[in-house]
Structure formats: C-alpha cells, structure tokens
C-alpha cells in the first residue's frame, strides 16, 4: 500500500509551520527545561521556517532532492535545544525515507526509528521526558502497528498510531522529568513535535488537526523572574570543515559548558552549547573551519526581559496587587491599573484579615502588594503577612486617590520591595478630599455643620460644610489646590445625578483652567465625591 496522492513536501512543511506558529506562544509558555527562557515555540517555528525556505529555494525536484533540502534547511535553521533535536529527528527520518524504493508502512516506521536514533546520538546527555522520549514512543508505536498483518498495518494507520502515542507520551513527560511536574506543565519541545507531526499528517491524509486533543491539558509554566543559571550564554554556530570530529567537538564543549549538542551532516556541523565563555567556542570553531550563523544569547537578559515584557512571567512571577474598595467604577479603574483582586470594604465595612488573606492567596503571584485604601484597614492589612506563606508588602494607602497614585508607580518587572518603596513615595504626592454627610451636628475650627449636612474632609480635618454638593465640592477643591499642583481627579459616587456632576466639573474646570481634570464615575456609597489633587 502506498501513500495517498501526496502534495509536494513544501505544502506539508508549510502546514506544519502554520500549526507551530498558531501554537507558538502556547509552546513558549510551557518552556521550563533545560532553561526557562520561554522560546521553544519560537525556536521550532524558526527551524521549520528554514526548512520551508530551503524547499522553496530547491523548487521541487525528485523526492530525494526534496528530502535533502529538508535536511539541509533544518540543519541550517535549527535554533535552540529543541530546534537542534528537531533537525536531527528530521534528518534521520529523511535519510530513512530516501533509501527506500517505495514508501510503505514498514519504511515509515523504520524512518521514524531512524529519526529517533539520530536524535539520541546527537545529544551528549539524553534526558527522558523530552522530545527524545516522544519520538522514541512514537517510533515504537509505528513499528508495532506496521508489523500487524492486516489492513491495520497500512501507512495511514501507522502514522495515526505514532501520533496518538506521541500525544500520550507528551502527557507522561511530567512523570519522567521532575522540573516539569514542579512547574505543572508538559514538555514544550515534545508538545511542539506533536503539533508539527499532527499538522503534517493531517495535511497528508486530508483530515483536521487535533494536536491539543492528542495531548490533553498542557499547563502553563510558572517562571520565576529571578534567574539562577549555571551558564549564562546560549551559543550556537555552524562550522564548515572538511575534517571536524564530532566526538572531539563534544569533548571540548562539555569541558566549557552544558546542554551540548553537535549535529553534523557531511562537512557542515551545527554546535549548540550553554557556556560562560562563548568566545572560546567561536575561537575553537574558527580554528577548524569557516563559521556561519553565529549566535550568542544572554539568557539572563532574556529571562529578565520576558518578565518585564509580561508574557509568561507576568501571570505568575512578578508582583500582584490586592486592593480594598467599594464601588463598581472604582473597582474597574483599579483593575485597569494592575490590581488583580478587589476586596469589598471601606469606611463603614472593614474587611477581616482572613478576607484579605484569601484574596492574597487567590493570586497566582507569590509577591503581593496590599492596598488598604483606608486608615482603619491598614493594621488589618499588616496582619495578613502572618497569615500567608506569600510575601506581602502593605503600602499604607489611606484613600482611593492614594491607591491610584501608588498604582501609577507599579512596575511588575521589579522586586516587591522596590515596588513597595516607589508606591509608598508616590502616595505622598497626592492630596485627598472626601465629601460625605455628617452623622451629627458639630463644629471643626471655624466650620459649623448640622446633622445630614455635606462636609468636605481633607488631610483628616473637616474643611468645608454646606447643603449643596455643587458649592461644597467647589470650595473643597479650592481649599486643596496650590501652585504646585497639576491635576485634579473627581470621582463621583453612587446616586449623584449626571446634571449635578456636570455642573461641578464645569465649575472646577473654570476655576482651575491650568490643571488637568480627570472625571470618573466611581459608584462608591456614602461619599458623593472623592477628590484627588496632585
């Protein structure tokens, strides 16, 4: 039985490339081994891209010419550990196929076995629970199916069996490699291999792709922004040399680094090593032949950059923020500024330490900033530190405007301590005013008020009182603003009519034309207006 009408190899590889591109970020997010630099998906994409480019350049030709182009493209384009292993698997499969006169089930299974063999040979210290395990399990399943003496043994079924087993093998990788289990993920390279294989087989057999079904849950890696790498530089290059001895190359590289891979094909060898002395690799290779595609990546910088850029690390590493607030509008603003959990509470309803602790524990991040946003909640917030295993820093915000100011200084790419310090300093730059109804009559300094009057409080003192929100608000703002200020934020509470709010905004804007005015609907109870001046 021969293969069904076969599209040119370029179409198959293009289908594989598209699938990898679709899953690129997902694969990046799984990447914890050997280095959590989150680029496995990208490396696989680049590698297969190079195969497609090489095929386009070769422009068709006989099967063996196309197989040669695939091998050469993958070798030239291979990037990263996973890319190099993939290039070796591809090379082994292509070698296997090119030696056959007609492609049948046995040839396919043998080609997969050859891919597995070549890949294992290329890796200095093979580790189980990686792409290597996946290709071996797939090849074994193919071999078993190809020996079946019935219709079961045809090429289609061999390919499907290999794929199914590859998927199952990926789901087992956490059992083989503890670092995967700790991070709660499957192996990134193995998953990428299934994505690629599935797309190629789907294109060949004309069916839908289902890589994610094959593997089931993949998980998302927890990457700590702190970096602790034995070797700092990922160093890769291609050396062309008449007589390069792969074993001697490996011995040299093992002496100066880890994750050593030497993949050679005739006079071209691709070298991959993690080392602290990339120059010594270049020097060594340059003495033995001509160099190409020299690439040195600073992995420490890469990991930091990823943490800074958000992406994988943003969700789990970095710093999370819990804030106490009341009012839908305020909650939405807080979330838009980087708050992950809001605990309901405020002046008349202080949340318990346990409620705050639960919110802190609900975050994916281990480092958490807590914003109490009320003087009466600061002490409760401080208690949370003793109730959780997480690292908690309380920035003692006493109001919503202080919370907003603190959040503008939030930078999830720096440490908890640095954030707490910067956010604390930022709160000092803002003045808060609050307007509420007096629960009883009284006087404060020169200000007299009756029960249910509106009173305007700022800096802990009652500054103004009145019957109408419009005039009380305008007077409080005027009390607060001085020559140094540049912005006013008005946060209207629940129940303030829009016409009234508009008149207040107009009045304030007219009185303080030089200042930026930001008007928000906070929806908070009890306080018709909260004012921030900075």
């Amino acid at each position: 039985m021969s293969l069904p009408a076969r599209p040119p190899s370029a179409d198959l590889m293009a289908a594989g490339l598209r699938a990898l591109q679709r899953h690129e970020e997902e694969i990046n997010a799984l990447n914890v081994f050997p280095v959590p630099d989150g680029d496995t998906g990208t490396n696989l994409v680049m590698t297969v891209q190079a195969v497609c480019d090489q095929l386009a350049q070769a422009g068709g030709g006989s099967l063996s010419e196309q197989l040669n182009a695939i091998t050469l493209g993958s070798l030239m384009g291979a990037r990263g550990n996973s890319g190099v292993i993939l290039s070796q698997i591809i090379r082994g499969i292509c070698d296997g196929l090119s030696q056959a006169e007609a492609v049948d089930a046995r040839v396919v299974a043998d080609a997969l076995q050859n891919g597995c063999r070549v890949a294992y040979q290329a890796i200095r210290k093979p580790v189980e629970g990686t792409m290597l395990t996946v290709i071996r399990d797939a090849a074994d399943a193919a071999t078993e199916r190809a020996s079946a003496k019935s219709v079961e043994g045809i090429v289609n079924h061999v390919l499907e069996a290999a794929l199914r087993e590859a998927g199952a093998s990926v789901s087992r990788t956490p059992d083989l490699l503890p670092v995967l289990k700790e991070a709660g993920v499957v192996d990134a390279g193995g998953f990428g291999l299934v994505v690629l294989g599935d797309a190629i087989v789907a294109s060949l057999l004309g069916r839908l792709e289902e890589a994610t079904d094959l593997v089931g849950a993949t998980g998302t890696a927890v990457i700590e922004p702190e970096v602790d790498l034995d070797y700092r530089f990922c160093t890769e290059l291609v050396v062309r040399s008449a007589g390069l001895d792969a074993e001697r190359a490996e011995n040299f590289l093992t002496g100066i680094g880890g994750s050593v891979m030497v993949a050679s094909s005739g006079q071209v060898a691709r070298i991959h090593v993690h080392t602290n002395t990339p120059w010594s690799v270049i020097e060594w290779a340059a003495a033995r032949g001509s160099l190409d595609k020299v690439k040195v990546d600073d992995m420490v910088a890469q990991v930091k950059e990823r943490a800074a850029a958000g992406g994988v690390a943003k969700a789990q590493g970095g710093v999370g923020v819990v804030a106490v607030a009341n009012g839908g509008g305020i909650e939405a603003i807080l979330r838009s500024l980087g708050v992950s959990a809001v605990v309901n509470g405020g002046q008349t309803m202080n949340p318990s330490a346990a409620e705050l602790r639960d919110a802190v524990d609900s975050l994916a991040q281990r480092d958490v900033i807590l914003l109490p946003n009320n003087p009466n909640i600061v002490l409760t917030a401080q208690q949370v530190k003793q109730l959780t295993t997480k690292q908690v820093a309380v920035v003692a915000t006493r109001s919503i405007p202080e919370a907003f100011a603190a959040l503008l200084a939030l930078d999830v790419s720096v440490s908890l301590g640095e954030n707490a310090e910067a956010m604390d300093a930022a709160t000092k730059a803002v003045k808060t005013g609050e307007i509420t109804h007096a629960v009883r009559g009284g006087r404060s300094g020169a200000v007299k008020f009756k029960k249910a009057d509106l009173i305007g409080i700022s800096d802990g003192k009652i500054r103004v009182a009145g019957r109408k929100l419009e005039t009380t608000a305008a007077r409080l703002v005027a009390e607060m603003v001085d020559g140094e200020d540049s912005a006013i934020t008005l946060i209207f509470g629940d129940g303030v009519e829009s016409g009234e709010a508009e008149r207040i905004v107009e009045k304030v804007a007219k009185k303080h034309p030089r200042l930026d005015l930001d008007v928000q609907h906070g929806g908070q109870p009890l306080y018709p207006l909260i004012i921030g001046v900075e």
């Binding site: 958000g310 838009s336 500024l337 100011a405 503008l408 912005a487 934020t489």
Partner: protein
C-alpha cells in the same frame, strides 16, 4: 586620505538641506495615505503631514526603503568614496537596516551598516558628531567606533497625547501595559537600550510631564553640560516650555537640533507629541 561616504535615512528628521550641506546621502522611507505614497521629508513635509493626518479618516502606513534604494545610494557614493558608513533607525522599529544590509553586500566598496537603536534627532545627534570627526580626519574604523559609542550614550524620552498611534502602528513595544488604563494618565515613554519603546513614567497632569523630562536631564547631566535635541509633532510651544524649564533648572545645555517629527515617525506618535533627546556633551 581615504574618502568616507555617509548614508542615513529620513527618520533622522533633519531637513534635506542639512544633508546637501554636509555631504550625506539620505535615503527616504515613505508614508502612505491609502494608495498614495510620499517620500518622508522629500515629498511630504511635516507641516503638510500633520494637516493631512488630521484630515485623514484612515491612519497612514509607512514603508522602509527598498534594498534597491540603498544599492543606488551606495553606487553613487562608490564612484567618489573608498568606503561607506550607513547609520539608521532602530532595527526594532523598522526594516530599514535590513534593506541597507542586503544592499551593502553587493556594493563596490566596503559598507558598514549601523543600527543606532535610535530614532529621529537621536540619529541626527550621532551623525553630526561623526561628520565632525570625519572632517577631522578620522578613519573608517574610528568613525564606526564613535558612532557605536555615541549611539549608546543618547537618551530618548518622549510624550504622546495618546498611545493610539503607537498601538495601531504596532510600535508600542513594552509600553503596551499602559494601554487600557481607565484613569487619564500622561505617559512618558523612552526608547530603550534595545531600541524598543518602553514606559518611562506614568504621571497625572501635563506639568508633571515637563517636570519629569527636565528632571531626567538633570539626573543624567549630573552637573556636566549636555547636548540636546528637541522634537515635536505639531506642538512647537512644548519646545519653548522645555527650554525655559531647563534654563530654570540651571542645566548647562546646548540645543544642537530642533525640529518637527517627520511623517514616518509622526505616524507612530500622533499630533501633540514631543520628545527630549540628550547625551553628555563630551566623550
């Protein structure tokens, strides 16, 4: 003495007269409104651009120069120069460096293509110093060294009225985190060491924007003199205000260039933006 030719691109945001005067070949990028394409600074002056931008319903798009444009520029210089230095806009923002590199491989004389990791007058500051060094008889290698070193000493801070243009244009980089804030914040951005746009500070109020920019120069200058270039996107008043505040702060500064942001960079900043680009005055 070997003759060394200089090539740059239009995103240095210098008036074309400068290039004629200083014997530099400028290769323009292009800005497109719908189907109409205009060469940055050559066919589309900034004054016209910001009017067109305000009137246009669709956002313009930009395109890097083709390798062919660079091949022609290098060919022209190769007739009278022994080598060429080609310095350009951050490769993280544009494929211009790539076009230049492709062309460099087939030039008749050696061409060194440099990614300054800068944009706008940041490139101009570096170019200006390199031209002075060329007049002083510096060798090709010396000039390349000067350009690389000075490029990394230039800081670029800028303010945009809205992040919309950077976001729609796909150049927002690490400042993406600032998008979506419900609070009215004034974003101050920087061009990072990697040539990618990143947040510098988020503040409330225009006054704070100016104060932070001036403070950044003061911190950086640490008492020494600084070279400054000021750019604006149809917001000339901002430059006057910056200069006044720098004076008041007692900073010893020399304004080397002052210019509009050209149409290509302006496509990503939008009207109202302004920038403060600076480096220590001496090496």
């Amino acid at each position: 003495m070997p003759r060394i030719g200089f090539v740059t691109d239009s995103t240095a945001d210098l008036d074309p007269a400068y290039y004629d005067e200083h014997d530099v070949v400028m290769v323009p990028l292009a800005v497109r409104f719908g189907k109409e394409s205009y060469l940055d600074w050559v066919e589309m002056r900034p004054e016209t651009f910001y009017q067109a931008l305000a009137a246009s319903e669709v956002l313009p798009k930009t395109s890097q120069p083709s390798a062919q444009q660079f091949i022609e520029a290098y060919d022209r210089l190769a007739r009278r120069c022994d080598s060429i230095i080609s310095l350009h806009l951050s490769a993280a923002l544009s494929g211009t460096v790539q076009s230049a590199e492709i062309a460099a491989r087939q030039a008749d004389v050696p061409v060194t293509v440099i990614d300054t990791k800068l944009a706008s007058l940041g490139i101009a500051l570096v170019l200006d110093e390199a031209l002075k060094a060329r007049s002083g008889g510096a060798s090709h290698d010396d000039l390349v060294e000067i350009i690389s070193r000075r490029s990394s000493s230039v800081s670029t801070l800028f303010y945009v009225d809205t992040l919309r243009y950077l976001e729609k244009g796909g150049r927002i980089g690490k400042a993406a985190a600032l998008v979506g804030s419900l609070l009215k914040i004034r974003p101050i951005l920087q061009l990072g060491e990697d040539g990618i746009v990143a947040p510098y500070k988020k503040v409330k109020g225009t006054q704070r924007v100016y104060a932070e920019l001036v403070q950044a120069v003061a911190d950086h200058a640490a008492g020494g003199p600084v070279k400054i270039a000021l750019v604006h996107a149809a917001n000339p008043e901002s430059l006057q205000r910056l200069k006044r505040l720098l004076d008041e702060k007692g900073i010893a500064f020399d304004v080397v260039f002052e210019s509009y942001v050209g149409s290509v960079i302006g496509t990503y900043l939008g009207p109202g933006a302004f920038g403060l680009i600076f480096c220590p005055a001496e090496t």
